[in-house]
Symmetry: C2
Subunit: 329 residues, 2 copies
Amino acid sequence: MTDENTVANDGWVSYRPDIKVLDCTIRDGGLTTDHNFDDEMVKKIYDTLVAAGVDYMEIGYKSSKEIYSKDQFGDWKHCDEDSIRRIMDDNPSDMKISVMADAERTNYKTDIIPKDDSVIDCVRVACYIHQIPLAIDMVKDATDKGYEALLQLMAVSTVNTNDLEKALEIVARSDASAVYIVDSFGSLYSEQVRNLTKLYLKAMEGAGKDVGFHGHNNMQLAFANTIESIVSGGNRMDATISGIGRGAGNCPLELLMGFLHNPKFKIRPVLEACQDIFKPLSETVDWGYSIPYAITGQLNQHPREAIKWRAGDAPDAYVPFYDKIMEQE
Amino acid sequence: MTDENTVANDGWVSYRPDIKVLDCTIRDGGLTTDHNFDDEMVKKIYDTLVAAGVDYMEIGYKSSKEIYSKDQFGDWKHCDEDSIRRIMDDNPSDMKISVMADAERTNYKTDIIPKDDSVIDCVRVACYIHQIPLAIDMVKDATDKGYEALLQLMAVSTVNTNDLEKALEIVARSDASAVYIVDSFGSLYSEQVRNLTKLYLKAMEGAGKDVGFHGHNNMQLAFANTIESIVSGGNRMDATISGIGRGAGNCPLELLMGFLHNPKFKIRPVLEACQDIFKPLSETVDWGYSIPYAITGQLNQHPREAIKWRAGDAPDAYVPFYDKIMEQE
């Protein structure tokens, strides 16, 4: 259809084989349903991701059962071995299974069992900047037990650059195989993502660690920022099917698949899941871009006020929400 | 709320006073309703844009009444002087009024009257690459009559780079005050927008012409690409309220307002229009991102097949649409 020699033909036409995609549909998407997804759905997602050639499936949290009771949360808040095996037995595929372990909300010493006894391949430790020492201990615990460990430093848009550089020095000395730039508030513009990716890459130089990006779609920039991080040298990218995730959601896997030209990735199974699972789900569960999320994103604020507003009586009363937020600034 | 010395503090914190925003809510948004918007709505949009500090309001097309009859299309397909004056009298505001004149679909010699008799300030000529000679004549006609003229070279993602360079040389010698990069198919990635903006700027060097960008949101990149073009040196940016526009729509004005830190721009009136006009309108009119548009965007195709599919019986049957489009490739 298009001419071979068009202006469209530049860098994106090629692909970098080292780019690894982590799908966090069930983990981040689970935040919209208190991690209550039925087995049939989780199985379909697993099959979809295997067929799509995704590298990692992040299936949920490894959260403390004291803080998050089994009565109040679905199985994907705790990711017990038998829950995961109900879905995939011993996971006969090449896709790695990842769980998220939140600093101060995970009994990691006891709840993360030795890798030899587990179907899980990878533990992603999530922390805020002040929790870095704890997170590093969690990374060590996971790698000592035989897992790959990833580090997810959240809310980077609120972190002082000097503190960030110090934190990254510590991370570079750790056993984590990758560290993620996490735009928790969906407030980063592409220039910032470019600068952060370069800062992280520089800090990881010689340490043999990848840099990743986890975006939120408050300003319709999750996909754009993911591309920006890739172009700047990031190799680990997060996405979710239909962009499901907390608040404004994440980078849509179906868009990322269209951008990554590595032939191992397939978009059709993802479109099928969008059509059969997520379009129907979107009738009852609220996620994705809307103006209250754009407002908190623009102001570099946690989306919690916007999430509350969207769940309230007048989710589309944008001006009262804007006035309320501006008053609190 | 956020620390003064965060990683967030870089280039975007400042602003360039020369950036001019053109709102094409009524013009591009009109493509969703055959240009049937009632006067009350158009008046509200006019008031909104004046209050928001927008530089140009593109109120519609100056289309041929033989090709597009008055019976079948609303007033904003033809933009007669008395239609515009019903909305704004002589336009007492500082905001400029723009109309679009499509090459081969406009009787420009007769239908565009001398500027002294018109409430219109600016004629934006839209053309494909093969229509450049005609477009240049239309630009001359408009400037001879006393208008500012802008040039909108459509579907640039399908244009051979050599042809584009030659076209831009011709444009540089014309009387147009700005030339726009137009991502008609919503298929450009930010790298491409960056390269195109630089190519256009280089071609306009010494000619005293601005470069602009008009995006479509097929891959959720309209806002991101608009920012990219700004950062690369573009000064003329298009947007529409709530992103209304043909197919996947355009760059949302409310997001662009949040990015532009020039204090002359105000976001609150735009949020009010989103809430009072466009949220209700979205219940009956289909525009904005959806997967069929993403698919045509990824394939650098005109969105017409996706528009037809979205208007059909099964707008959310993504896999049959994908299979159909792939078969035609």
